[in-house]
């Protein structure tokens, strides 16, 4: 339960083996092998359209891979998805690129949505959790605002608060800083890093922003043409690396948006 969590608890491991996904005649994932350690903050970078978001959708079960295995927290993903919410051994949350807040609900109602639907907390507990996670993302006092009244950066932070409210062991972020200016990008990056430090959740971030990935990630995986071609700590990235990695680093040095 979110209000009784053990702050020293670690997140869960994620293991992908030979994951393939095809849409019509086009192969998007061509055998992805990847392991994310418990509590690790892994960034997946790659050019637009290389299947980064598709990969996240396989991990959270929004889509089913055509081939390959996904094991989260030692549990095969299909078995995890088939388990009732009350009996799931851990929770996975996802922050969508569009934030995906329900427009008809207030910030407080969005953040409390899963807690209210599960009906395992009373109203006082829910209000306390909502206030705590909104404070964590530095949006205290915005409970009664509607998503349309917030800026893009604030909406992303509310989406992160909604993910935190369910006390997940694994958080997936799909382009969390897309469309944000550099200052907001830095703020979101610091927030994600702080979640790792304070809570120890496993976090996987998909981004094309190499600078952000290098600043916050423990390791960076480079996805190219449907395969992970490199997966190293930021300091080691590019050393004897893949051509795409070198191009990414060169673009970042050149100051091209998204690469800087």
């Amino acid at each position: 339960m979110a209000d009784t969590r053990d702050s020293r608890r670690q997140g869960v491991a994620v293991e992908l083996t030979g994951v393939r996904k095809r849409y019509g005649g086009q192969a998007v994932l061509r055998g992805v092998d990847l392991r994310v350690e418990p509590g690790e903050l892994l960034a997946i970078v790659g050019q637009s359209g290389t299947g980064k978001s598709v990969l996240l959708r396989q991990i959270i079960g929004l889509e089913t891979p055509d081939a390959g295995r996904i094991v989260v927290g030692g549990v095969e993903l299909p078995r995890y998805l088939a388990t009732s919410p009350e009996e799931k051994p851990f929770r996975i949350a996802m922050v969508f690129q569009s934030a995906a807040l329900l427009a008809s609900l207030t910030v407080g109602e969005n953040v409390a949505l899963r807690l209210r639907e599960r009906r395992r907390h009373d109203e006082a507990q829910i209000r306390e959790i909502v206030a705590r996670v909104l404070d964590q993302v530095e949006l205290a006092g915005t409970e009664d605002k509607y998503p349309s009244q917030l800026s893009g950066g604030m909406r992303k932070r509310v989406a992160i608060a909604r993910a935190l409210a369910v006390d997940p062991e694994l958080i997936l972020y799909d382009e969390p800083t897309a469309d944000l200016d550099p200052i907001l990008t830095q703020q979101i990056g610091e927030l994600i890093r702080r979640i790792k430090t304070e809570q120890g959740d496993t976090q996987v971030i998909v981004t094309h922003n190499l600078a952000l990935a290098r600043a916050i990630a423990d390791r960076i995986a480079v996805l190219d043409a449907g395969r992970i071609v490199e997966c190293k700590p930021p300091a080691e990235l590019g050393k004897d690396g893949h051509t795409l990695t070198r191009e990414f680093i060169r673009a970042a040095a050149f100051g091209i948006p998204g690469g800087a």
């Binding site: 929004l62 919410p85 996975i92 996802m94 969508f96 995906a100 807040l101 427009a103 639907e117």
Partner: protein, 270 residues
Amino acid sequence: MAVEAVGEREREPGVLARLGTRVLEVLQILGEASELFVACVRASAFAPVDRQRVLAQMVRVGTDTLSIGALLSLFVGLVLVVQSADQLRDVNEGVLGPIVGLAMTKELGPVMMAFLLAGRAGSAMAAELGSMAVYDEINALRTMDIDPVRFLAMPRFVAATLCLPLLILYSDFIGVAGGAAVIGLDPAIKISVNEYFARMLEWVHFTDVIVGLVKGLVFGMIASVVPCTFGFRTHGGTEGIATSTTAAVVWSFILILVFDFLIVRASFSF
């Protein structure tokens, strides 16, 4: 070179291929709608628990249709009497009551209100769910272990199914009252308002009203399940939302007319 280029180009699908694709798409939509219908019926068991969401949808359906429904029914009642009276002037104006009563309760009330519900509330459902699908809000619900059918479709399904029979009674009442108003006010019509109602009660039976209400239940299901189906399957940004909304209304109208025929045909079998 030119011949090679043509040879390499992907062949345009022929008439039969295009027709086949269209037929498969229609079957897929019907399949998805049937699946959603079954899921909504199952999820309706949670309606008492989710009564706040169901009530909110009932209020939306009501506010979307009550005023325009009243206007529509009133004018249909008025026109029906004026038009029929003109035709029946030299024959028998006494049948004006039965004509308005039977037409409103069995056919015009149910179909008009169903079209109105599909056009107003149904299009809003398709647009709202379509927007949620495009902006990943429905996927966000799934990742939170919240069933989108129970959370989004079921309240709309229950609300439309319960509201439409009530809206039909409301429409019948206003249409019949509109007819009475013309009879009372138009000196060219020779029968009295009392005679209009007396003959109507003589001809319109309780079973006729029941047929209209059964139609209301069925049309209510169609006018909610079809828009929700199109809403859930929306993709392709704002253009996709517009396409889904239009398709939801057109499909609802067609299915309402098809089921209208089937119910009328079945009602004559008893």
